[in-house]
Symmetry: C2
Subunit: 176 residues, 2 copies
């Protein structure tokens, strides 16, 4: 859209197998030829949003990795947890409770219903809404998910410290 490239460059790279962030061979600086490993010195420290973003990224990746065997993502887990704790909720209620949109919840429930973990039951009192329930399979599955999620929480405790994790939960308790 912009000026992009006035030069002749277009694209490049062999698509090498760089996987782990630890692997660093670049020099950093583009003009001065110093090592430039520790860029640091940024004014980014002191910004809560940046720290939280990086942490959220790490924590979600660990969650996904830890529950990869059961193929459950954080949002799916939260949906099943809320339904499991409050059977019969409407989609609207779940969406509002979790702060996600009705439209988004539709697809989430579609996939969970495909996998026979959740079932939408026609409400008796309100023919518009669905009463959400865990299936039998869903209940046993959620129990396993919770065990894996607990393992994930241990990873978090290892990463930032046990007491720091609890302090964090206390600080952010108003957002849950």
């Amino acid at each position: 859209m912009a000026s992009k490239q006035q030069t002749s460059r277009k694209a490049a790279g062999t698509g090498a197998a760089i996987r782990r962030p630890e692997t660093r061979a670049a020099n950093g600086r583009a003009d001065s030829g110093d090592t430039g490993d520790d860029i640091g010195l940024d004014a980014l420290v002191g910004h809560a949003g940046y720290a939280v973003r990086r942490f959220q990224l790490w924590i979600f990746q660990d969650f996904i990795k830890t529950l990869a065997t059961v193929d459950i993502r954080p949002t799916q887990y939260s949906v099943m947890t809320v339904i499991g704790a409050n059977p019969g909720l409407s989609q609207m209620a779940v969406a509002k409770r979790l702060g996600i949109e009705r439209a988004r919840l539709v697809h989430l429930l579609d996939s969970l219903e495909e996998r026979a973990l959740v079932s939408r039951i026609q409400s008796a009192t309100d023919r518009r809404s669905h009463a959400l329930h865990l299936t039998g399979r869903g209940k046993t599955a959620l129990a396993q998910f919770k065990r894996l999620a607990a393992e994930h929480e241990r990873h978090v405790a290892e990463k930032i410290g046990k007491e720091n994790r609890e302090q964090l939960l206390q600080i952010l308790a108003s957002f849950t």
Copy 2:
């Protein structure tokens, strides 16, 4: 994709003007007709990832709102901050430092270069890479952005408490 709807329902709603989350008129439960306002009692408490996700959502929205007049998003701000503190960095170095992908940074720099805030200068030593600099306009603009970002940080402090914010920054310092 899935079973979707076996019933005859298809779609509905007038798209009413529900904006603020405080507005709640739904009952919650779909079958039992109780009030069902406070769903709570979830097993979601104790999950760091969920709390962090909700908080990150809030903090980013406040950042975007606070810097709406200058039309700068959190990622754009972080890119300009790093370049401003370390002029001459390559795109690779900036991407690695901020934990974003090279591919993503390309578009970010495109938009910032469009607005004449950042300039890609051909490196003298490595003809592959670009040395990133803030333009004169970019420098003065970044100064204003930082003032607005400071205002945003005050919002965070008001939300979770001054000392809680500092504790949070300390806990998550290893991620910056």
